[in-house]
């Protein structure tokens, strides 16, 4: 019992520390990659190759004046960013990042929690992330924030649907909601081969779910100034960004877990494979940000409901038919 608790605590600490570290350096990676895609350099003054930039950013944001706008609903205003961060970080718990290893006679799974409703848990937690946006946007008492919040909640609800449905094909093949079992089922063939349409829908919905270009309507700076986070400053602002990048990390890991065989791969250790695959996805996220313009709100909703939603239903149907034919 004690060993179990200890292992759990150590896993939680290690995973979340690593996650925060990766998130910090994702910001640097994004700025660097974007920079090179846009004929500029990105940060390169703080430390060698700008490697200390995330730390400098963190320190700067920490010492910024923390402004709470007048007439804001203080409690909700303060609560909102933490809701965002917590939901983003906690959802990583069910992502397996390696094979189980034996340490001092204890079998340790390389996943914080292997629950048999793993995927549903992930969906549930990520659906809670909307509260962070809605509460923040509403409590700021700013019309731009409110518009951003309304947009975000509508967007999140719509795209969560197709995100959830796109996964069902994978679940049908595996017959389990456990992420560990899903990874295990891909030891021969990655599910992206069986589920190309599902993967495509997942990818698009994932980008929308993370509110990234071309779906970054919730904070689109050109229309809504900064959307729901217009009035936020200092560490609360940083928390929103932390949550955003953590969300990208989680979604990328999820894509790897569901469609690209998780941590499995030849020669290299599982963790390395996992990270390589995840970072390819993160790169992809940055790449589309550099390439695409932004959708309009109504187009986004139409796309979600009239294209992605029927397609994901179709995908489920095709999967079902093929499975019953092959047996």
């Amino acid at each position: 019992m004690l060993a179990f608790v200890l292992i759990a605590i150590v896993k939680v600490l290690v995973v979340f520390t690593a996650m925060l570290l990766i998130v910090a350096y994702m910001t640097l990676m994004e700025r660097k990659v974007l920079g090179h895609m846009q004929v500029r350099f990105g940060p390169n003054r703080t430390g060698p190759f700008g490697l200390l930039q995330p730390i400098a950013d963190g320190i700067k944001l920490f010492f910024k004046e923390d402004i709470i706008v007048p007439h804001a609903n203080r409690l909700i205003y303060i609560l909102a960013p933490s809701v965002m961060v917590i939901t983003a970080l906690v959802s990583f718990a069910v992502i397996p990042f390696g094979d189980s290893v034996t340490i001092l006679g204890h079998k340790v799974d390389m996943v914080v929690a292997d629950v048999n409703v793993g995927l549903l848990y992930l969906m549930a937690i990520s659906s809670l992330g909307v509260y962070g946006l809605v509460m923040g946007g509403w409590a700021s008492n700013n019309k731009y924030s409110l518009l951003g919040a309304i947009r975000s909640s509508a967007q999140m609800i719509s795209y969560e649907l197709s995100l959830g449905l796109s996964i069902i094909g994978v679940l049908m093949i595996t017959g389990s909601l456990s992420t560990v079992k899903i990874v295990g089922a891909q030891s021969q063939v990655w599910f992206v081969v069986y589920q190309p349409l599902g993967f495509l829908i997942f990818l698009i919905s994932a980008v929308a779910e993370c509110s990234r270009t071309p779906f970054d309507l919730t904070e689109c700076e050109n229309e809504l100034v900064a959307g729901y986070q217009t009035e936020y400053s200092s560490m609360k602002f940083a928390l929103y960004y932390l949550a955003e990048y953590a969300h990208i990390l989680v979604i990328s890991s999820l894509a790897v877990t569901l469609f690209f065989g998780g941590w499995q791969g030849p020669f290299l250790p599982p963790l390395v494979w996992f990270l390589i695959k995840v970072f390819i996805f993160i790169f992809f996220f940055i790449w589309i940000r550099a390439t695409f313009p932004r959708f309009r709100y109504d187009q986004l909703m139409k796309f979600g409901w009239k294209v992605l939603f029927p397609l994901s239903l179709l995908n489920i149907m095709i999967t079902g038919i093929v499975m019953s034919v092959i047996g």
Binding site: L34, M37, Q38, V39, R40, K143, Y144, L147, R151, T213, P214, D216, L217, C220, E221, N222, E223, L224, V225, R289, A290, T291, F292, P293, R294, F295, R296, Y297, D298, Q299
Partner: protein, 390 residues
């Protein structure tokens, strides 16, 4: 069925995509704009009044500050008006160089528009690409007159000085590579489905309506009205250059985008033609009324020195009369109306700013559309608030 309230939102004057200090008071029903009221004047500096206390020569520097992304063309419109009033014409070489620099300025202005407009619609990267080429042009301007944004290079009767020697090589290099750069922007945007969806059918205005609003420039031509002052009322010898005036069909944001892109390519062609047949000779008219005597003469004859002092301190008197001269600036018809009482300062100095008049059609274009379209439409009009407010 349910009764809904509208929400008033103040877009600007501090807003990332109103291109300066434009304030639009939007009445929104959900995200749909019910009513849009532009509120201008945050950048009013009284340039037109200020000009009345400056000599004709000094006014050139004021015109730079109108449309600050296209300083050269502002200078050109103004000096053309003064020249028309006096009744002189710049020598052929000066005319050719004016065309050359105006077309470079047109490219620079369109590039800046392209970058910011694309960024408004959410495409981040074209901005950096466009500014890279714009910077090349600004370097050339710096080479020519020592200034990047506010050249004040054109003079009444010609130019401040001749082009530097190394200019031609640099300019040729630029026009050689520039078309491929336009292709780059086009790969990012023109056939991009999202871009097309965001711009096609948005802010459409018919040709007739556009004329009634007094629109000019690319925004008018996008509405399928073939009206370009360079063709319709040529100045500076535009009639001798071979170029086409692109027109759009629907007059929407997408057509404005296409028109401007073709214009950039055409400007590039004009520049090539100018460089190929650049006439020699002087760059200032030989008219002692408005032009400084040559420096060598000033140093040896007292009359020339007094003459120099006279023009430098008091400027030159301009015959009594009124004049309107206009050019096709990157944004549309830029005109100067001058009323002279025979003294050395304009009695009345009035600008016809294309941005201001094009902006007036904003309300009709955005009403009934979404808030995201407002940003796209403001961007497509290509306004510079310094020119709107003056």
């Amino acid at each position: 069925m349910a009764k809904t309230d509208t929400m008033i939102i103040n877009m600007g004057p501090q807003h990332p995509s109103t291109h300066g200090v434009l304030r639009v008071i939007l009445e929104l029903d959900g995200e749909v704009v019910v009513k849009a009221t532009p509120d201008i004047g945050f950048l009013h500096r009284g340039l037109e009044k200020l000009a009345e206390s400056k000599t004709y020569h000094q006014c050139i520097t004021l015109t730079d500050r109108l449309d600050y992304v296209a300083g050269m063309t502002n200078n050109l419109a103004y000096v053309l008006a003064v020249e028309k009033l006096i009744g002189i014409e710049a020598p052929p070489r000066a005319q050719a160089i004016r065309v050359l620099l105006s077309e470079l300025q047109r490219i620079a202005s369109h590039l800046f528009w392209l970058g910011t407009h694309a960024h408004d619609i959410g495409a981040m990267t074209p901005l950096f690409y466009a500014l890279r080429e714009r910077d090349e042009i600004l370097f050339m301007f710096e080479m020519v007159c020592g200034s990047r944004l506010t050249p004040s290079y054109f003079r009444v009767g010609g130019l401040a000085q001749d082009l530097p020697e190394e200019f031609e090589a640099k300019c040729r290099e630029f026009i050689r590579t520039f078309p491929s750069h336009v292709d780059e922007y086009e790969t990012l945007l023109t056939r991009n489905k999202i871009w097309m969806r965001r711009t096609q059918g948005v802010g459409a205005i018919s040709g007739e309506e556009a004329i009634n609003w007094g629109l000019s420039g690319p925004i008018l031509r996008a509405s399928n009205v073939n009206w370009d002052l360079r063709k319709a009322m040529p100045y500076c010898g535009y009639e001798s250059y071979d170029f086409i005036v692109p027109t759009g069909k629907n007059g929407d944001v997408y057509d404005r985008y296409l028109v401007r892109l073709v214009e950039m390519r055409q400007s590039n062609e004009i520049i090539r033609q100018v460089l190929d047949r650049m006439p020699g000779g002087k760059v200032l008219v030989d008219d002692p009324r408005v032009v400084y005597p040559p420096k060598a003469k000033v140093q040896e004859s007292i009359e020339a020195m007094i003459h120099h002092f006279h023009i430098a301190s008091e400027g030159f008197p301009v015959p009594r009369g009124e004049v309107y001269a206009s050019i096709e600036s990157p944004k549309g018809e830029l005109g100067f109306y001058l009323l002279s009482d025979g003294s050395n300062k304009p009695f009345r100095f009035r600008v016809r700013p294309p941005s201001f008049i094009n902006l007036s059609a904003l309300s009709t274009m955005v009403e009934g559309r979404l808030i995201a379209d407002v940003v796209a439409i403001i961007g497509s009009i290509d306004i510079v608030l310094a020119e709107v407010d003056r």
